[in-house]
Assembly symmetry: C2
Homo-oligomer: 252 residues x 2
C-alpha cells in the first residue's frame, strides 16, 4: 500500500476580530479606496456594517491611529491620513506585497537602496566603535556559515544574525530600529529571496573579510567590503524581479 506524502501541517494563524477589522481598514487605506482626507464611517456604523461589537472596532481604530493611518478626534469623524507622509518604516511589509500578491518592484528597489546606504556605514561605525568585541561575534557567525554550506535557509538566518551583530556594534539606535523594520519585512518573503540572494549568501569569504576588518577597527575596509557584499544580493534580487515582471508580461 502506497503511503501518501506527508501533508505538512502548518499552525493555523489565529486572528481576533479587532485584528480582522484593522487589516481590512488598513488595506482599504493603502489601496487608496479610502483616500487621505476622507472620513471613516462612525464607530457605530462600522460595528453594524462589519457585524462586530464596538469594542472590536475601537481597538482596531486605536491600532490604525498608532500606525499613523488615521486620526481620531472626539466629537468629529475619524479621518484618513496620507500614509506616505504620516507612517513609519513598519509599513514596509504590507506595502511590499501588492493586492494581487506580487511584489511591488518599487518597494523592493527602495528597500535594497536603503540597505546599501545604511549597511556600509554601519560596518564602518562598528569597526570604529566596537572593533574587537564585535569582530569576534561576527567571526563566530562566519564559522557557523561554514557548517551550513548548501543550506540556504540556514545561511539566511546566519547572515541575518551577522548583520544584527554588526548593527549592535555600530551603536546607533536609529540604524537598529531601521534594521528591525527592514528585517521584519525581509522575514515575510524570506523563502522567495533565498535563490535570488544566493550570490550574497553562499560565499562566506566576504563575511570573513568584513569580520576581520571590523576586528582590526579598519573602518574604511569594513565599509567598502560591506558595500561589495550587499551589491551581490542587490543585483540578484533585481534580476529576479525583472524576470518575474517579464514572466508576468508573457502571461498577458
Amino acid at each position: 500500500m502506497t503511503q501518501s506524502p506527508a501533508p505538512d501541517l502548518r499552525p493555523v494563524q489565529r486572528q481576533s476580530l479587532s485584528d480582522a477589522v484593522f487589516e481590512q481598514l488598513r488595506n482599504q487605506i493603502l489601496r487608496g479606496e479610502r483616500p487621505a482626507g476622507s472620513s471613516l464611517p462612525a464607530e457605530r456604523a462600522l460595528c453594524e456594517a462589519l457585524g462586530v461589537n464596538r469594542s472590536a472596532v475601537r481597538e482596531a481604530l486605536r491600532r490604525l491611529e498608532q500606525a499613523g493611518l488615521v486620526v481620531v478626534r472626539q466629537g468629529d469623524a475619524s479621518r484618513v491620513l496620507d500614509y506616505r507622509r504620516s507612517t513609519s518604516l513598519d509599513l514596509l511589509g504590507v506595502l511590499l506585497l501588492r493586492p494581487d500578491g506580487r511584489f511591488d518592484a518599487r518597494v523592493v528597489r527602495g528597500i535594497l537602496e536603503m540597505r546599501s546606504a545604511l549597511g556600509p556605514d554601519a560596518a564602518r561605525l562598528a569597526a570604529l566603535r566596537s572593533g574587537r568585541l564585535c569582530g569576534e561575534r561576527l567571526t563566530a557567525e562566519v564559522a557557523a556559515m561554514a557548517d551550513a554550506q548548501g543550506d540556504l535557509t540556514r545561511l539566511q538566518a546566519i547572515a541575518t544574525s551577522f548583520w544584527s551583530h554588526l548593527i549592535d556594534g555600530a551603536d546607533n539606535v536609529a540604524y537598529r530600529l531601521a534594521f528591525n523594520a527592514l528585517h521584519e519585512t525581509y522575514d515575510r518573503v524570506r523563502v522567495l529571496l533565498a535563490r535570488p540572494m544566493e550570490a550574497e549568501l553562499a560565499d562566506a569569504a566576504p563575511y570573513a573579510a568584513l569580520a576581520a576588518a571590523v576586528c582590526r577597527s579598519d573602518g574604511d575596509a569594513a565599509e567598502s567590503l560591506a558595500r561589495v557584499l550587499l551589491a551581490r544580493g542587490e543585483r540578484g534580487v533585481l534580476e529576479a524581479l525583472e524576470l518575474a515582471s517579464a514572466a508576468a508580461w508573457e502571461e498577458r
Copy 2:
C-alpha cells in the same frame, strides 16, 4: 499699576484615558522598569490599579502591541518585548528625550548619522530620477529662503519642505517612511535646534547649488553637495550637545 507679563496660554493637550495608560506603560517599558520578557499584570488587575475601565486598558494594550512593545496572547499574560529588537523608527521621538528631560546624546548622534547616510543618497537618486521636475520645486523653496532670511523658525520649515521634495524626487518608499519618522522626531525639538543648526539653515547658497545639481540631473554633484550641507548642521548640533553636557557637568 504694573501689568504682569503676559502669561502665554498654550492650548492644553487633551489626553484620553487610554492615551494616559499607553504612555505610562510605554515609558515604564522604555525606562527598563518593565524588562523584556516580564509579564504585564492581567487586564483586570491593571484596571483596578489604574482606576480606569477595562476598555481603556485594552485599547492601550492594542497600541502597545502595534508599536511592537508587547505581545498579547489569549489565555496567557501579556509579555514585554525587547524594544531594541521589536520596534521601528517611530519610537525615536520618545527615545530622544531621557526621563530627566535632557537629550539622549547617543540618540541624537544616531539620528544625525542616519540623516547623513540617507540624505546624500536621496539627493543622488532625486537628481537621476526626477531631475528637472524635482529641481524646479527645490528652486522654489530656495527662493522662499531668500524671503525668510533672519527668521530661523521659518527657515526650518522651508528646509524641511526642501528635503521633503528631495525625498519625493528620490522615489524611494523606504527613504520616505524613514524621513517621516526622522521629521516627526525633529519636530518635537525644533525650537531647541534652531540655533545649533543655524550654520545649515541660514545660508541659502548650498541649497541653491543642490537644487541646480538636481535640476541638471547631476547625481554626483547633488550627492556631495548634500553631504557638505548636512555636515554643517551635524557639527553645530554635536557642539551644542557637548556644551550642554559640560554645563550639566558643572551643575553637579
